[in-house]
Amino acid sequence: MSQPPLLEVEGLSRHFPVRNMFGWQIGALRALDGVSFKVRPGETLGIVGESGCGKSTLGKALAGIHAASGGRILFEGTDITGCSAVQRRSVAPKLQYCYQDPGNSLDPRWTVRRSLAEPLIVHSALTARERDARIAKILEQVGLPLTHLELYPHELSGGQQRRVGLARILTLYPRLVVLDEPTSGLDVSVQASVLKLLRELQAAFTLSYLFISHDLSVVRAMCDRVAVMYAGRIVEEAPTERIFASAKHPYTLSLLAAIPNIGGERITDTFALEGEPPDPVRPPSGCRFRTRCPRAAAVCAGTDPPLRRIAPGQAAACLFA
């Protein structure tokens, strides 16, 4: 707990301009609106929420693919928010972003060997021989035979492509990896092997993960802490076991209620979520969740509840939490 955080995000926002037919800006889509959290070394922080709640935008903003519209990102104590592309490159080896489908992040015209060598050529001073040794080692760690080095991405299966994509990111020995939906679109057995691989790699490289997912059961298996996002904000944050045992925010409760459960009782039967998330261009006044919240009262329309501490390690943004 006393360790300094590896990544510290303060009030991060990302607004996309909304233009009318003449190209005039008529509003802003608030994909991220004041998001704050910390990731400690070696920890896995889960980010959960519905599609469109800003999870992926958050990941891409951290990776430097999207520029932040406001707020700060501190990595190892250094502010990397507004730095130039060139400065940003010096952070890249330590802070890596992993695409939803890492196989897509491979150049279809390059062999696996060439794709794996590129990060090393760019970020290290290794000789060609040292690079080959490092690539061979990584490939073994993600569980692929060396013979696959000369193959092109389309000659690999989906699971193998993901492994190569992961290997490409890990060749640089990063400290933090942003995993964007790492298990989506995989069948359950492959999903399990990918999760196992991620855990093994975490142990081998002392990695921290920012684990973005909409699948709560996967998050439960992987994460130390969970932050729940709704409409561009974090509405609840707590250690994983507390989220599943004593979540306080009605949105979190409704997500938990939506987990399909074979045999046993549902975690909570009292919450069923109706309607669609609010239009991020025109969020409702006060609490953003009030339009769908079963507990909403008149006061919710006037007050935007801040994220406040409600128990050790747990914070929620609800007036009634």
């Binding site: 430097g64 890596q96 695409y99 897509n104 279809p108 490409r168």
Partner: protein, 286 residues
């Protein structure tokens, strides 16, 4: 991924592309070996008034022109001029157009827009008109024809590359390379350029044919190489006054232009079928 061998095999398997390739290979061979093949190499530039306007015969395969020069030999040497003009002009257009297209496609900002608008200005004037104006102003010579053609052809490459790069810029593998901290020059030269190479090659082949046609038109208008040079377009123009009696003096250079332009177009179409990913069947990549 396909290798050069695969591509060559596919091209030969397609009859029209193979014919195009054959014509181009023949053109290059003829241009290189002109002094050896020519039946009357000395009669290309010399006047030979006794043998004026003779019809095709065993001595003069394609007949003679108004100066008494052997048309067959002139066609052979003309291939050198044609090929030089096409290669240098299209090469220069490539060197100008592709980098500008890469820059304008990659930087979607004011710089990219400005570069695109400049290429639009060139495209707004019909190529032949602009080429005539340029070679008219600078005087008739091969160098000026080349200059006029490259100055008017580069915007085609710019537009092509620009459109391809814009589409590629949001591909996941390009975005991933940015996130990985790969320097921009590396992304553009090693990831983007190889991906847009196929359409560039196709465009180059078709552009060669087009350039030869325009160069011949300039020669026909008297804006090409100065008189004694065996330039095909000029040969047709010189033959005009003896038509229809001395039909052979216009037929041979006309056929030569027709064949070569058709060869480049057939090859270009064949290359498009083999290389262009949007027509390619079962393409796993983009």
């Amino acid at each position: 991924m396909r290798t050069a061998r695969d591509i060559a095999l596919k091209l030969i398997g397609d009859p029209s592309a193979a014919l195009g390739l054959l014509i181009i290979v023949a053109l290059v061979a003829v241009a290189v070996l002109a002094p050896l093949i020519a039946t009357h190499p000395e009669a290309v530039w010399d006047m030979n008034p006794r043998d004026r306007l003779l019809p095709p015969s065993e001595t003069y395969l394609f007949g003679t022109d108004r100066m008494g020069a052997d048309i067959f030999s002139r066609i052979l040497f003309g291939a050198r001029i044609t090929l030089t003009i096409a290669i240098v002009a299209v090469g220069a257009a490539l060197m100008i157009g592709v980098p500008i297209g890469l820059i304008s496609g990659w930087c979607g900002n004011w710089l990219g827009e400005a570069l695109l608008r400049v290429s639009d200005i060139f495209l707004a004037v019909p190529q032949i008109v602009l080429a005539i104006a340029i070679s008219q102003t600078l005087g008739p010579s091969i160098e000026n024809v080349i200059l006029a053609l490259s100055v008017t052809y580069w915007p085609w490459f710019t537009r092509l590359v620009h459109a391809e790069v814009r589409a590629l810029r949001h591909e996941t593998f390009i975005e991933a390379a940015i996130a990985l901290g790969v320097p921009t020059w590396r992304i553009v030269l090693l990831h983007v350029l190889p991906s847009v190479l196929s359409p560039i090659i196709v465009r180059t082949s078709i552009g060669m044919g087009f350039t030869i046609l325009t160069a011949s038109a300039l020669g026909f208008l008297g804006l090409g190489a100065p008189p004694p040079a065996p330039e095909w377009g000029r040969m047709i123009s010189e033959a005009r006054e003896f038509l229809p009696e001395a039909w052979w003096s216009a037929l041979a250079p006309g056929l030569a232009i027709f064949l070569v332009v058709m060869g480049f177009n057939l090859l270009g179409d064949g290359l498009r079928d083999v290389l262009d990913p949007r027509i390619r069947r079962g393409n796993p990549g983009r």
